[in-house]
């Protein structure tokens, strides 16, 4: 009662000044301004920029959709798109398989779960840049971890990873797998632990062995969790930048040049800001579509 009375009194006081109506907006203002400044403004600016032509870093006129059309005729973009797709497909597949395997392994042994969760989370909380630097040190052909190990244990020569196209690409995939398998593991472990126990016991009594249980029961029941995890990870993998930037800068040649790196180079190396933003916005749209799909999957999961 006392609070209600106080509320009415406060209402009377503030109503006169019109503060009552403005107050919510005032309170929201700092956050809103921040969002406008760092999210909305750059996007609007970027979209506008993607329709402009740049010469030596200066806008020299509008070109309509030319920047977007150019994407279809640019072999370098095609190459970058191909590398990105290869990278995403390979990395996400390996991460899913490894994550699922680890989750199944750990889910069975309950006392082990906590420790495993703790250890496996570490790669995820390391800054991507640092991950790139660490892997550069691992792969370095002179003082790198792999070279040192080979030298000291097998007496062999230096290990070259980042100097050949295919090995650099696989090295990059390995980095991503190291960093993001834990995410898959955590999502899938939570999924597995939320499954009902009885159907699995029923399947055992009905005559199913380990493999049939996995194929007939675990996978179908995990389907929506798997879909969500893969969707999330795919979206994230499309925008990988920091690690590549530190590790290879897209090289050797264009073998690890993801779209994010190509877009960065186009903008900041060749000062073609219009084309660079157009490219990255196009990719953003694809990722946005994927995100919408992921959200739908999550919603459907929640409904069930």
């Amino acid at each position: 009662m006392a609070t209600a009375a106080a509320y009415v009194a406060r209402r009377r006081r503030t109503q006169g000044a019109g503060l009552d109506r403005v107050l919510p907006y005032l309170l929201l203002a700092p956050t809103l301004l921040l969002v406008l400044a760092v999210v909305v403004y750059p996007i609007v600016y970027g979209v506008r920029q993607s329709f402009l032509n740049f010469r030596f870093g200066h806008a020299v006129g509008s070109v309509g959709f030319d920047n977007y059309r150019q994407l279809f005729h640019d072999p370098a973009f095609g190459q970058a798109l191909w590398v990105t797709l290869k990278f995403v497909a390979l990395a996400v597949t390996v991460e899913t398989v490894l994550g699922l395997g680890l989750a199944l392994l750990v889910a069975g042994a309950l006392p082990f779960t906590r420790v495993a969760r703790l250890v496996l989370v570490v790669p995820m909380i390391v800054t991507p840049i640092v991950v790139g630097i660490v892997f550069r040190l691992i792969y370095a052909s002179d003082v790198g971890l792999l070279t040192t190990l080979r030298k000291d244990i097998f007496g062999g020569g230096p290990v070259f990873i980042l100097d050949k196209g295919w090995s650099a690409f696989l090295g990059l995939v390995a980095l991503d797998v190291w960093e993001w398998t834990p995410l898959m593991f955590l999502i899938l472990l939570a999924g597995i632990q939320s499954l009902p126990v009885e159907p699995f016991e029923a399947a055992r009594v009905d005559g199913a062995g380990g493999w049939r249980i996995f194929v007939d029961q675990t996978l179908p029941m995990l389907r929506s969790v798997l879909a969500v995890a893969i969707a999330l990870r795919t979206i994230d993998a499309f925008t990988t930048f920091d690690q590549v930037f530190v590790l290879t800068k897209g090289g050797p040649g264009t073998s690890t040049q993801l779209i994010s790196i190509y877009g960065y180079n186009t903008s900041f190396k060749f000062a073609e800001f219009g084309y660079g933003t157009a490219m990255l916005l196009a990719v953003a749209l694809v990722v946005l579509a994927l995100a919408a799909l992921a959200v739908r999957l999550i919603r459907r999961e929640a409904r069930q």
Binding site: P196, P199, E201, R204, V205, D206, G207, A208, M221
Partner: protein, 352 residues
Amino acid sequence: MLGPSGCGKTTALRILAGLELPDAGRVLLGDRDVTRLQPRDRDVAMVFQSYALYPHMTVAENIAYPLDLRHVEKTERKRAVQEVAELLEIGHLLDRRPKQLSGGQRQRIALARAIVRDPQAFLMDEPLSNLDAKLRASMRGELKRLQKRLGATTIYVTHDQAEATTMADLVAVLHDGVLEQLGPPLEIYDRPATRFVATFVGSPPLNVLPGILDAERRAFVVTGTPVPLAETVFEACRQHRVTELGVRPEDLAICGPGEAAALPGEVYVVEPLGNETLVQVRIGDSVVALLVGRGWDAPIGAPVGVALEPSTACFFDPDGRSAVHRIDRPEARRPDRAAARGEPQTRERSVL
């Protein structure tokens, strides 16, 4: 297997199924030692309390799954599913998913999945406990008919003594992980091995009255009133140093408070049940329940007598074991009840 929750009956069933390993002992299926075998190698089918249907499969797929695992041909599989579906009257549900079914329907699907395999034994873990009371009663009869028709050994776990006595050929009463008694339902009812079995089986439960043996009067004295005992019964009671008398509610009768040999008490509460009346009477520190005819009534606190026919009483020793069983002679029973029950076996006066 009958027992209160937590007595270990489900664990025992899971050991039979192979879902859990016993700490000691062997599991024999016929002559086959299956103690260390995987569930799938035991050829038993289980119906779970929660039904444990496969949520992502249709009803038909659920039922066919055990056959699929045994590499049964597709047409044969389909035929078997049809047959079982017909038997359980679930043919119209075959394309649905478990989520779209009611509890009773799910229960039938779980049964169908077990039956389709034609296993050596059925294991059922409280399959009726998730159904409402009415459906439970009708399914109880259906299950019994089905079991008789299939003729397969069925081990049925329940905490409901009515289910146990109505459905079983043999009842195993479990308590705190210990097998208290194994026997046919009526033997469990008439000759309970322990105080626990005696009070667990039967509704309303058996009355237990503490008292002391009086050697001079050859009687068991309950709150000052002697219950005279036959010589053999008294000897057995003395030998086992019995401390408690047990008597079924239907073996007690109400009489006037002053009547000789009646236990004096006062009405605790009167509960009309329809065709009869449940009366609870306070005798000393205990409250006993007894059944009288319909229409009987008395105010709370009214003094009444409880007539106890000594030959219908059983006696327990201090460890809760039955020292003397209830004597199951027809002439010792109240005539109206003996007729209604159709006396199964006539047993000689027996003393443990």
